[in-house]
């Protein structure tokens, strides 16, 4: 691959189908497919990630629009999950991982010393590939976040938060009668919905999902995709997925990664109907990946 020819999608050079204005209020906006303008919730500039000496991401510039679903697609090992984990500083927990560059949420740098990383992770929730409910009851799983962040004044308020979260996750009807049973006793799809309920119980602003459906059967997957569609009215969602059809169904903006480079980022319909880069074309048509 000839490196000199690639043009990263930056804030200054707009790929086809999108325009970027700086409105009088000073907020950056991105024009999405239906020509509606949405604000940028999170953005990265010149993001480099190193695992020891090996560089995993090369100068990623990406904007994540608010209250929309951004899908990150690409072949295995291209750096999608690494990028996702940068957004809530989960890469801090990995020994030998170095993150350079600028990552912002609502224009504030997430690596700013004044910013508490624990509070950041309460604002940015994460759902993992393999469902990992805590070995506690269903109720305690969902109530854990509100408890440690002090979001409920009393038991009734906590009950309400838990019920709302379970309902939004589409799990309440199935588990309403057994909230005290262990979370690990649920089926795979239910466990993943429990993890989503757990994540939304703290009312985050952004939800990061790392291949949430890859360990689930098609019916459970369909449930979760429906759920994502409902959630995007209130939350900003970034989802990493191997499944291109899922990306096409669920997202409004898609970013294609390849070998640690952000090859193309555009509205979903543009990416899947008329991608500007031939590598994107190749991946989407299944020539590789």
């Amino acid at each position: 691959m000839n490196m000199e020819n690639y043009r990263p999608a930056t804030a200054t050079s707009a790929p086809t189908g999108m325009t970027i204005d700086t409105v009088l209020t000073g907020e950056k906006t991105i024009k999405m497919e239906s020509a509606e303008e949405t604000t940028v919730k999170m953005s990265t500039r010149n993001l480099d990630v190193f695992y020891g000496d090996k560089q995993a991401l090369f100068g990623i510039d990406l904007d994540v629009p608010e209250r929309a679903v951004t899908a990150l697609i690409g072949p295995s090992g291209c750096g999608k999950s690494t990028f996702l984990r940068c957004l809530n500083r989960m890469n801090d927990t990995i020994d030998g991982c170095r993150v350079d560059g600028d990552i912002r949420i609502d224009q504030s740098d997430i690596y700013d010393r004044a910013l508490d990383v624990v509070e950041l992770r309460a604002r940015i929730g994460m759902v993992f590939q393999k469902p990992n409910p805590f070995p506690k009851s269903i109720y305690d799983n969902v109530a854990y976040g509100p408890r440690i962040h002090g979001l409920a004044e009393d038991k009734d308020a906590l009950d309400e938060i838990v019920h709302n979260a379970l309902e939004k996750a589409g799990l309440l009807k199935e588990v309403a009668d057994r909230l005290d049973s262990p979370g690990t006793g649920l089926s795979g799809g239910q466990q993943q919905r429990l993890c989503i309920a757990r994540a939304i119980a703290v009312s985050p602003e952004v939800i990061l999902m790392d291949e949430p459906c890859s360990a689930l059967d098609p019916i459970a997957t369909a449930h979760i995709e429906e759920l994502i569609d409902e959630l995007r009215e209130n939350f900003t969602i970034v989802i990493v997925t191997h499944n291109m059809q899922q990306a096409a169904r669920v997202s409004q903006q898609t970013a294609f990664f390849h070998l640690g480079i952000l090859v193309e980022c555009n509205s979903t319909s543009e990416i899947f109907t008329s991608p500007s880069d031939e590598r994107t074309q190749g991946y989407i048509t299944g020539r590789y990946g």
């Binding site: 020994d95 950041l120 440690i148 690990t184 994540a199």
Partner: protein, 424 residues
Amino acid sequence: MTDNSTPNPALQRRNKRYAAERRFRLYGIVSISIALGALCLLIGSMASKGWSAFQQTYLILEVELSKEDLAPGGKIDAATLREANYVSYLRKALRAEIPGVKSRRDRRSLYKLISNGASLDLQNLILADASLIGRKVTFAAIASDDVDQYVKGNISAGKGGKISSKQAAWIKALTEAGKVKKRFNTNLFSNGDSREPELAGIWGAAVGSLLTMFLTVLLSFPLGVAAAIYLQEFARKNRWTDIIEVNINNLAAVPSIVFGLLGLAVFLSFFGLPRSAPLVGGIVLALMTLPTIIIASRAALGAVPPSIREAAIGMGASPMQVVLHHVLPLAFPGILTGTIIGAARALGETAPLLMIGMVAFIVDIPGSLTDPATVLPVQIYLWADSPERAFVERTAAATLILLTFLILMNLIAVILRKKFERRW
């Protein structure tokens, strides 16, 4: 057409495989049998030697309690009761049982049939129930250790032995009169150490062991778990942590007597702590148990799947909350098991405690951490060294008691582990 005389190579391979599998299982069964056999041999030999120690011979005597001596003027006074000469009553009772003993030497020989502690038992009986004064009481007097061993058949009577032929004849007469009884040896469990085997018990050593173990666990458990948590969860992986890890692993393999020398040099000589005290014993054993607990705890913490940690971190839990709310509860069974195993090992340690002086002959039951004390394994060592024949069976009995404690501790470890185990 298949020729039945030529073996099918596939069938041959399969049969070989079956034979190999059977042999493999057999090796395992043989190994376990040898290990269990050795264990049975050990416990069996201890049990056969020590079984008789749980019984003690008593001589049933009719003791006359004179009212004039014990309660002059009809008044019962505790001081008078304590100072009375109970030995004379017992001797009188003995003379009554075996008439015709005239010469001084023979009488001395007769009085040697009962233990020195019998008079103390009689005194305690009167102090407890003063209404017995002025009556004839049927009293079970502890027989001396030589009589006890003779009755049990461990020593023989005759010239140059502990039991003279005259004494043997008296014992025979008493046995025929039904005056020689064997009872459960409660002294073994309730008394402290004594020069007289029939009065010697493990209670002093047991209390000493208890106090020492209490201090050992109190010191080593929090320190060990905290160190393990820091090393496993928070310390950065660099050369320093590698050096620390190597050193801790080495400490776990250091011979225990070295810790005793450390205790002697630092705690007794430099700090001037009291010798033979459970305080020093506890500190020394705590230092010895610390590496074991650290290693077991680190293994337990490392066995917690990283997905639990990631889920907690993703929820915005602080590092301390991740450890306390999620990792520690899941690692707890392993930590507990490691601690109890370490404590069980410390319970059976002798060498380090010899160095710090817990090998003295202590009669009193220790009342605090700074009173001189001894521990059960050291008590066994002291009894094994004693010349009296009766101590042989008591050594084995004390070993059985120590083994019972150890088995109990390990059983508790297994039960607690099962109770706290959580599946994820």
